[in-house]
Symmetry: C4
Subunit: 120 residues, 4 copies
């Protein structure tokens, strides 16, 4: 399978608190690589008031899915998300991938979100 | 109507527990076939640490909607989802369709998700 | 403004119960018409086990937004949604519009949804 | 990075009440500008029963993300959202951006939403 795109952008990322529920608060980026070859992905993080981080490298093997947790050092190294900080996530891959963002919020609230319709 | 696309990819699938709410925890893939002819669809499942499953076949009749439950044998046969396992779902159809994924989580949490903006 | 598309498809529609919360359970289709001219829209409803409904007509005035409630006769006439019935909604407009679906569920559950990445 | 689109449209906006949770009810538009140059953005608001507002101007600096709160005067000036009023948001930028809408609802409900599949 050769499906997907090489660039994925998530404007709204922000680490929630862990909380006390059976599902701890967290953020995930889930990436599926439907092709046979490994996908080498550079992650860039943009912030509201400081320079972007451009040095995170990850790999998703061919025909596999990988779930990155933004608060785990094994996934984001020294650039783990900090609680309550607004940031954005950009993925640039050398192979086509499909990527999704999810947030699990332990505080009492009903959330929903959508990217808008876009055109030029 | 000849609307839709033949390939649909959902990176983030994971079966929640059934729980004790009036809405039991579940995952669904909802597929509408707006055309007159039946759509024959092959489902591929990708996993984090094992080979993909490529042998699931379903049909959505012309001008009908069908809701697949990932934990029901009538929809996914012997490849029903296992609680807590990360996987991805790919649909390949011979006719244009439109597909949506939904998760109903019985545990206390506020969830939201989005695919990112994508380009090459 | 001439932005938008003429066809919008929502695979997963299902009327929730009204419940007892301050926000009653409901479904909405929200349509914005960014252009100057009125948009005349035909709504088609697809079902799991019966013939589609193709006769609903609505208008969204130029430079206005309109929120349709699927359980209100003023919006869906005699084809109001029935509690718990799976169906799909197709909008066909003579002018470009942008449309969004929302569901407010009064029962205890955490929901999320997304259309998949699509291609041919 | 030169990724993104210049126009973003969100059909369904409506300010929730503030409520009493640790996360107050609110709406946000989150905009990331992945390019080096500042993005100058005009915001248009469409309503159900009155003329659109077309005069809001904001800037998102190059390589930064900005979160607009619809009920804060520093972001929307005199056109802050009013509780319970249906409206739509259009962004027109002079540089490519990526934008997302989020609503945090303090009342008891499980919400989800999606834009539909669109085509002509």
């Amino acid at each position: 399978m050769n499906y997907g795109k090489k660039v994925w952008i998530f404007p709204d990322a922000e680490l929630p608190p862990i909380g006390v529920n059976s599902i701890p608060g967290h953020e995930s980026i889930i990436i599926v690589n439907p092709g046979k070859k490994d996908a080498h992905i550079t992650i860039t993080l943009f912030y509201a008031d400081k320079e972007p981080v451009k040095e995170i490298q990850i790999t998703v093997e061919g025909e596999r899915v990988r779930c990155l947790r933004t608060n785990e050092e094994k996934d984001f190294g020294k650039h783990m998300a900090a609680f309550g900080e607004q940031y954005s996530i950009v993925l640039e891959s050398d192979m086509p991938i499909v990527a999704q963002y999810g947030r699990a919020e332990p505080r009492a609230v009903a959330f929903y979100t959508t990217l808008g319709y876009n055109c030029d």
